[in-house]
Every structure is written in C-alpha cells, then in structure tokens.
Assembly symmetry: C2
Homo-oligomer: 216 residues x 2
C-alpha cells in the first residue's frame, strides 16, 4: 500500500514536467510510462484515463500554490501589522518564490488547461475555475482590508484583485515565449508598484483631476 503511492507520485512528477514543457496533448502516455519504467497496464492501474491524470495534476498544482500563497502572505502578516505593508512584503516574497519555481518548471497547469478545455472533462475544468475564484477572493480580501486603512478613491478593487493573476499568467506566457522565466518576477513587482501607487492618496491629492481626466 506504500509502493503504489510512490509510483503514483513518480508518474505525476514526470507528467507535470512534461505537460509544462510541451502541453497536455503533446504528452503521450507511452512517453510517461517509458520514463517511469512501467507498462501501460501499470499506468492504467493507477489512473483510469488521461482525465484522471489531469485531475490529480491540477489538485497537486493548486494545493502547492495554495500552500505557497499562505506562506508568503502569512509571512508578510508576521513582519508587518499594517495591511498594506504586509501585502507589499507578501508580494515581494511571492515574486522571489515564483522566480525560483518558474526557473525550474516554467508554466501554469491551470492556464495550460484553459486553452485546451475540450481535452478535459467538466470536473477538471471546474477545479481550475474554483482555484481561480479562491485566488481572486483572497486577493480581494487583502485589498479591502488595505482600503479600510488607506481609502483609495477611484480604484476598482475587483479589477485590481484580478490584475495580479492576470499579470502572472501573462508573464508566464511571455516568459515561455521569450525563453526567460524572469519576466514573472518583474511583473509581480510591477503589480506591487501598482498597489503602492493605488493606495498612496497623497499623490492623488497633488494632481488635479482636470489634468488627469483630460483624456477621458
């Protein structure tokens, strides 16, 4: 009952690396079992089909990410009482952590699935959606907390909450395309700057609305 878990884990390791490197469709089962040193029967003993493989890969990925977010933003909370400072620290740590992770296995399982929806069943897609919903809700929570201390007028908190995820996913794509995973870190820091600017109301006050809204 223990060796089975280990083999399962090994299959998932190999599959994840392959999927991030070349997509789900281009990752054949034959290739996975060859690297894992098992047979096709062995594979299908653990996973009834490719969809279940996807399901467990998503679960693994989302769990790992959830832990990571708890880590960095929890650490931010530990190091600063002020919600804005805590969040900014969390973002800095997130940037560093992502830079490290992306340099090893560039890619996002969740994003890679969304562009190949029809390859997966409803359950897999729903899992990626739930993860995304949870992530944006978390971000929004942080921002609302900050907004209570630093009232920011004219800032769309929902859009701002979604921006980080967008910038990360976009940066991953950019990084993959350019062969430079470092873009992810830069974009997270760019987001950090956006948050700083959004909640520094003193700047808002010094600039007359007529000037900034001239282009509206």
């Amino acid at each position: 009952m223990k060796k089975g878990v280990e083999t399962r884990q090994r299959i998932l390791d190999i599959a994840e690396a392959a999927v991030l490197a070349k997509g789900f469709a281009a990752t054949s089962i034959d290739e996975i079992i060859a690297e894992a040193g098992i047979t096709k029967s062995g594979f299908f003993y653990h996973f009834k089909d490719k969809n279940q493989l996807a399901r467990e890969m998503v679960l693994r990925f989302t769990d790992a990410n959830e832990r990571m977010f708890n880590e960095v933003f929890g650490r931010g909370r530990e190091l600063a009482d002020d919600p804005l400072q805590a969040f900014l620290i969390g973002l800095k740590l997130l940037a560093e952590t992502l830079a490290d992770v992306q340099s090893k296995h560039p890619g996002c399982i969740v994003a890679s699935i969304c562009y190949q929806e029809r390859l997966f069943d409803r359950e897999v897609v729903e899992m990626t959606r739930q993860f995304t919903v949870g992530w944006t809700a978390r971000l929004r929570g942080y921002l609302v907390e900050i907004a209570n201390v630093y009232p920011a007028t004219g800032v769309d908190l929902d859009a701002l909450a979604e921006s980080l995820g967008c910038m990360i996913d976009g940066a991953i794509i950019l990084g993959k395309m350019m062969g430079d995973p470092g873009r992810v870190e830069r974009q997270v820091l760019a987001y950090r700057n956006l948050v700083k600017l959004s909640f520094s109301s003193s700047v808002h006050a010094t600039v007359p609305a007529s000037f900034l809204l001239a282009a509206e």
Copy 2:
C-alpha cells in the same frame, strides 16, 4: 484562381474559431473539413500539413492585431498632441475594441500556441515570438515618448511595456475560465490606470511646463 482563395479563407475561419474554442490539438482536420464541406484531399491541397494551417492562422491573427493597434493608437495620436493623453485615448479604444472582439471569439492564437509548443514547428513558434517582440517594442516606444515629457522616476519602463500584454493574455485566460470575456476590457482599463498613476506621481516632484499652463 478565385474560388481557391475563398475556400482557403473559409477553412481558416472555421479553424480559428475551433482552435480558440478548444485548442489546436483538440481541433481535428476531419472536423474542419466536415464543417467546410470539403474532403480530406481538398484540405491537404490547400495546406500541406497542420503546421502550415497553424502558420497561416498565426499570420492572419498577428496581421489583424497589428492593424488594430495601428488603428487605436493612431486615432489616439490624432485626437491629442500630448503623448500621454494620446496613449490613454489609445488604451481606451483598445479596451473597447478588445471587448468587442473577445465577446465573439474569446482567445489569443499566440498564447494558445505557447502552451503547446511541441505541436508546432520552429517557424510557427518563431512567428509568435516576433509578434510579441514587436508588440512590446511598440509599447516601449510609446512609454519612452511619454517619459520624455513626464519624467517618471522609479518606473521600470520595460516592465511597464510588458505589463499590458501580460494583463491582456492573463485576462483572456481568466475570461475563458470564468466564461466572461468582459475581464479583458477591465484589465486594459486597469493598465490604463497604472500608466496614469505611473506618470502622475512625478508631477509633484518635477512639474512639466504643460502642467503649469493647464492648471492656470
């Protein structure tokens, strides 16, 4: 020599819609030819393989986008002399245009390819890369122009140039996942706000002459 072009066009239309909806791998040739009302032989008469189909789809997509960018940012230039205002107008128009396009066929061919690299040959991947390089260079050009008028200290122009593309691609993913293409417009507007904030924070430090005149 005319009917051939028309059929070719029809195949590309069908393929593009299918690829954006369910990914390149999940789009079978059988399915395309069924919808186009031709046979397999007919398909391979026009495209020697699936890679050439991809190549022409990318070309179509990038051309259309290039035209769109010229349109919106050109219009911005027409409506305002100030580079910042011109850019902000361009972004507003871009947001509207993208909202319209995405509501019809949500997705980005270039991004969809990057997560399935191995399905395509070098040429296709290189085309998407060149498009991305051109796009960020264009953005950077606009920002440098703006920075000449509104010196912004502590702003990473390269990162800021890349942010828009990241936010759009990320928002497309988010939109696809949530079934709401409207996210793209919101993120472009969020970027617009980021640009505004980035170049207004310098106003109190280094006040440009144009600002003093406008304030009077």
